[in-house]
Amino acid sequence: MTTETEISLVEGLRKQSPKTQRHVLERYGGFVFSQVARLVPGNEDAEEVYQDVFVKVFSNIENFDASKSSFQTWLYRIAYNTSVSFLRQKRQPMIYFEDNEGKAEAISEDEVEATFGHASQETVMLIRAALKHLPPDERAIITMFYFDDMSIKEIAYVTEASSTGVICSKLQRTRKKLCKIIQMLRS
């Protein structure tokens, strides 16, 4: 799970070596920043959270368990949790699509596959517009799955979900929700 370079990096971080810290920032900084920016709107806030994430990583490196996850996944987990707790603290008013009536759940799997499966520039544009109506946590999960190519297990670890089934059902629900938003945008 953890590569040799990751092991050496972790050892360097445990020794509080500034050189290793710089190396970690160069290697994982971009990924962490994009992860933070997905959840935290506003560049300044994202920068603040990014700094908090790495301060936590450097000070809590002793808690990293290589048998549980890779170093990168552990970093993502800290980034996700720090961003979520920042959003909770800030309590910014955000408007998202909520499927209170359960209309999205009524959409069939074939319908969803037809929407996302057939390559179309128009649908891509609609999906991009629909993504903005998703709450940050759902957007983060779907991005981790489709963009970062993370496994369900890894996503469950990052989001501290009780089981992989929770992530599976969340992904399914989010897909249907997106489909519903697209339908609404089309109409």
């Binding site: 301060v55 000070s59 057939h118 489709y146 992989t164 997106l178």
Partner: protein
């Protein structure tokens, strides 16, 4: 849906993948100097921690040294002398209790006599106060009053005198009783506390002398052997 089905979906959902990729590409890039700022912050925090350590460590070390010094310098609580003192105190306290017990017996008598005195004085005063008021009325019978009043006063004086004499007698008796018992026991009077107070029989003393002589002889023999051994060693060299 299983995890494997989701892996298939990852490949199937082309539109969704493309849309998310485009979104991520358009996301603002990380500022170039962000890592440098972060490293400055980390350095500051490290310095702050080390400063804290520098401040705390000497204090902790000084506290430890002070604790150790205090432990070694404080004398032990239970020593032989103190235990003797405790025993002696207990032994000496017993005879002193007797005079203390006598005093409370004498005190009630004193108080009773004092009370009597006080009562008689009070009565005499009251009567003395009443006298000037009553005398003008009793003027026609001065002989009767003169006979009556001196008799009462005499009774009061007599009782007071009796009380005083009784008190004096009791005090003398108490002193007589206490005086021989006031002798306090010293440490030497207790045979158990000091080993030199133990009495040995003639046989025991003789045996002790014999043992000491034997021990001295053995020691001399040992000394001789050692000197012989040393001589042999030096001769061999």
């Amino acid at each position: 849906m299983n995890e494997d089905n989701f892996d298939e979906l990852r490949l199937k959902d082309v539109n969704l993948r493309e849309a998310i990729r485009m979104e991520e590409m358009e996301r603002p890039q990380m500022p170039v100097d962000l890592n440098a700022r972060l490293m400055k912050r980390v350095d500051k925090e490290v310095n702050h921690r080390s400063q804290r350590k520098r401040i705390i460590w000497p204090l902790v070390a000084a506290a430890c040294v002070a604790g150790i010094v205090a432990i070694f310098l404080t004398p032990p609580r239970t020593t032989e002398g103190e235990t003797h003192g405790i025993v002696v105190a207990h032994v000496e306290a017993k005879p002193e209790q007797k005079p203390v017990q006598h005093k409370p017996e004498a005190q009630p008598e004193q108080t009773e006599s004092q009370q009597k005195e006080v009562k008689t004085d009070a009565r005499a005063e009251q009567k003395a106060k009443q006298r000037p008021l009553s005398t003008p009325r009793q003027e026609p019978m001065p002989n009767m009053m003169a006979e009556a009043e001196p008799s009462k006063q005499q009774v009061v004086d007599a009782t007071a005198e009796k009380g005083n004499s009784l008190l004096a007698l009791l005090e003398e008796k108490a002193d007589m009783k206490v005086a021989p018992e006031e002798v306090t026991l010293s440490e030497r009077d207790i045979p158990v506390t000091r080993p030199e107070n133990l009495k040995y029989t003639q046989e025991e003393i003789a045996q002790m002398k014999r043992q000491s002589n034997e021990a001295y002889l053995k020691w001399m023999e040992l000394e001789l052997e050692i000197s012989k051994f040393n001589l042999e060693q030096s001769a061999q060299r």
